[in-house]
């Protein structure tokens, strides 16, 4: 008996999705015009873009005066941003009043910092311990000698002459480098079973976290000279560094505490049962795990610190923002858009730093989270 029925032996090829569900048209329908309200929102959004983007583009690029331009072009009626002004004053914005013939010193410091920091941040590269040692201990000492001079035949450059982006980077790096150990100690103290130590740490953390950085800076710049023995003068930059470090340490302590609390109790008990002493247990078992977990948190508070360094301009230190602000009164380049160009430039610099750090924080968060999420 021959079979009259037909049984298909191979799977039929999938048909293309209906044209209404595929391609750019479907994407537009789904994401832009799904409902009447959606359509209205889309049209409003497009109208906003058409209203906002061309003037911004014309200001920044279209009618802007390029780096080679002259001040007269910047003073023209419809001129946009005056990039010529930025390129003419760029060394002031980067180095402040640092002597021009000594620029190689801050250059070496900045390049050296980048050369040490990038391998430290990349998780795959080896020699982390050596790298951290170089970055956190050797680098600050060498940088200080190189920048301040007065030794090894280097010309002495007082800190009043440091400025611009250099000072912004110095304050944020010193702030983070000094406040990490302090923050860890405070966090451990806050978790301590000894009531008096715990009280001191809680009081310190909560006091600094409660007040705005500007009052801490005021306090450091006015009260610190009163608190040291007579005859001892405290450098202006050093006062700001002390303020920033104490302030940041309190915030980092809370970040680290989060990492300590996130560790399962078993880790603490395992350390105890191995017979480790307190510092061995913390140094070998608890902190390596806890700190690894809070790297994103540390980076986030570094971003906040980096933005907060602008406040030192209020107590008279020439950081990047203050040099920009001082630059606006430069009559050689006075033009209608001089101030706004300076602000846009500064905003771009801060944005590039903060945005790349926040991307790094997100990257580390993803990397560290694997295996912990079920």
């Amino acid at each position: 008996m021959s079979s009259s029925s037909f049984v298909r032996q191979e799977i039929a090829p999938a048909e293309a999705p209906p044209s209404s569900n595929a391609g750019a048209g479907a994407w537009v329908r789904k994401n832009l015009f799904a409902t009447p309200q959606d359509t209205i929102l889309t049209l409003l959004g497009i109208a906003f873009l058409l209203w906002a983007v061309p003037p911004v583009f014309n200001f920044v690029v279209g009618h802007a005066v390029g780096p080679g331009g002259t001040v007269d072009e910047c003073r023209a009626q419809d001129a946009g941003a005056c990039w010529a002004y930025i390129s003419a004053r760029i060394s002031f914005f980067i180095y402040g009043f640092y002597p021009i013939d000594q620029f190689w010193r801050p250059n070496i410091v900045m390049l050296g910092g980048a050369a040490l920091l990038i391998p430290l941040m990349a998780p795959k590269l080896p020699f982390k311990r050596l790298n951290a040692l170089l970055f956190f201990i050797v680098f600050p000492v060498v940088s200080y000698i190189l920048l301040a001079g007065g030794a090894f035949g280097l010309e002495s450059v007082p800190t009043e002459r440091w400025g611009g982006l250099l000072v912004t980077l110095i304050i944020s790096l010193v702030g983070i480098i000094c406040s990490i150990p302090l923050g860890i100690l405070l966090a451990l103290g806050r978790q301590s079973k000894l009531p008096i130590i715990k009280t001191f740490c809680v009081a310190f953390i909560e006091l600094w976290r409660a007040v705005p950085l500007i009052t801490v800076l005021f306090m450091a710049s006015i009260m610190l000279p009163l608190f040291v023995p007579q005859g001892v003068t405290v450098d202006k930059l050093l006062r700001a560094l002390v303020a920033v470090t104490l302030f940041e340490a309190a915030y980092l302590a809370e970040v680290v505490r989060g990492g300590l609390q996130a560790l399962p109790r078993g880790q603490y008990e395992a350390g105890d049962s191995l017979g480790l002493k307190y510092w061995q247990r913390m140094g070998l078992i608890i902190l390596p795990q806890a700190l690894k977990h809070v790297i994103p948190g540390i980076v986030n508070s570094f971003i906040a610190l980096f933005k907060d360094t602008t406040l030192v301009s209020i107590v008279g230190i020439f950081d990047l923002l203050n040099t920009i602000q001082a630059g606006t009164s430069d009559i050689n380049w006075s033009a209608p858009n001089q101030a706004i160009t300076g602000y846009v430039f500064a905003a771009a610099v801060y944005w590039v730093f903060c945005f790349s750090m926040s991307r790094y924080s997100i990257f580390m968060e993803r990397r560290l989270n694997t295996g912990h999420k079920r």
Binding site: T42, I46, K193, L194, T215, F218, M223, T328
Partner: protein, 396 residues
């Protein structure tokens, strides 16, 4: 047989130096001594330094005449006002900025946070761009931008930009009409209070009725109706009227109206825009924290769309949103101190700035300023603990 006595009696005998109790106590004594010694040292140094500078200390300066001008105060300020009044003026200005900033930042932040989650591509991208730009630029720079580059670049008084509702903006600030309620307006305030009480009673009654009978009372329309009727009646019966005193451009300046200085406008504007970006992220995180299963569970219970949001989604999202939201409010209040950099007379500017420079009482002035912010912080964290305790998940 020898009885082996292996019963432990008390803690194991260790060397005195290794006894954890002894060690704990000695560490704490050492720490206390170190901290006390540190304070004694700096206080002594301060006393010596102050004596060398011929400066006195104490809080008696608060009752001296300040003798400086404050460009914007909520109460009458003259040069003969006292320093404690300067403190109060700064404090009220800080609170004013905080209240307005929190109001605008919350509205803008919620709108942008929800827009960020929109399924509309353009809207969500615009919200993302806003958040990523604003969050990554220092607040002080933004304030400088708004103050020096935008508001100071406004046209002069003669060429003021006219906005709707008799509002004008120029170099000297924002000029808005001043509302002038007459004396009968007391009745309207009374009616407003009555309406609030009535609404509370009605909401309670509606809930009881729903629980007992399952019948639903339209709460929101009824509340709106109560407000309109009660306040409207109060307004009509008392014959109250509210006049507006609009700003009028005279020869050199505006007369009448309410003048908001550019420092205040820039500060409130900058703080609201900056904080809104952080609030938006908080709102987004809160909404995303409610798992999709909750929506489905609510649907399967047969809840209507409004009830689903009101009873299931929003309460759970708020539990995640409120704690970081209050800390954003606290941040905004602390950041209002940046007004000092653009010359707005808030607490840090008036007190830790001018007053300190004039009196030289650094320790007293800074301590009072810090105490104010410490109080704000303690009140906020007190509220947060209360709220967290109230909404905490009850676990088995």
């Amino acid at each position: 047989m020898v009885a082996i006595d292996n019963e432990r009696k008390g803690p194991p005998r260790t060397s005195f130096l290794n006894d954890p109790v002894v060690r704990g106590i000695s560490y704490q004594v050492l720490a206390t001594v170190a901290v006390v010694a540190f304070f004694v040292w700096i206080i002594q140094n301060a006393a010596v330094n102050l004596a060398a500078q011929n400066k006195t200390s104490g809080f008696d300066f608060l009752w001296n005449a300040a003798g400086f001008d404050i460009s914007f105060a909520l109460f009458a300020w003259t040069r003969t006002s006292l320093y404690w009044q300067a403190f109060l003026a700064g404090l009220t200005n800080t609170l004013l900025v905080a209240v307005f900033g929190i109001f605008f930042a919350t509205i803008l932040g919620f709108i942008i946070g929800i827009a960020r989650l929109s399924s509309n591509f353009i809207i969500s991208r615009l919200a993302t761009v806003y958040i990523e730009i604003i969050r990554n630029i220092p607040l002080l720079l933004q304030l400088f931008f708004w103050y020096f580059a935008v508001l100071k670049a406004m046209p002069a008084v003669r060429q003021s930009i006219a906005l709707p509702f008799d509002t004008f903006i120029n170099q000297r600030g924002l000029f808005v009409p001043r509302p002038l309620p007459d004396e009968q307006f007391l009745w309207v305030y009374g009616a407003l209070a009555l309406a609030i009480v009535l609404c509370a009673v009605m909401t309670r009654w509606a809930r009881l009725r729903l629980e007992q009978t399952g019948q639903r009372v339209p709460v929101f329309p009824t509340a709106v109706a109560i407000f309109v009727v009660v306040v409207g009646l109060g307004f009509l019966l008392s014959g109250a009227s509210v006049a507006f005193d609009p700003p009028v451009l005279n020869r050199f300046n505006f007369s009448g109206g309410l003048e908001l200085p550019p420092e205040l406008v820039a500060l409130v504007f900058g703080l609201s825009i900056y904080t809104a970006a952080f609030i938006a992220e908080t709102v987004r995180a809160g909404i995303q924290a409610v798992s999709h299963g909750q929506t489905e569970a609510a649907q399967s219970l047969g809840l209507a769309e409004g009830d689903r949001l009101r009873l299931v989604i929003i309460p759970q999202a708020m539990r995640v949103i409120v704690p970081p939201l209050t800390s954003q409010y606290l941040n905004l209040t602390k950041n209002s101190s940046l007004g000092a950099a653009i010359g707005f007379p808030e607490l840090v500017n008036v007190f830790a700035g001018t007053t300190l420079n004039q009196t030289g009482r650094a320790i007293e002035v800074i301590a009072m300023t810090m105490l104010v912010y410490l109080t704000f912080s303690l009140v906020t964290s007190g509220f947060m603990n209360w709220y967290n305790g109230r909404v905490k998940l009850v676990e088995r």
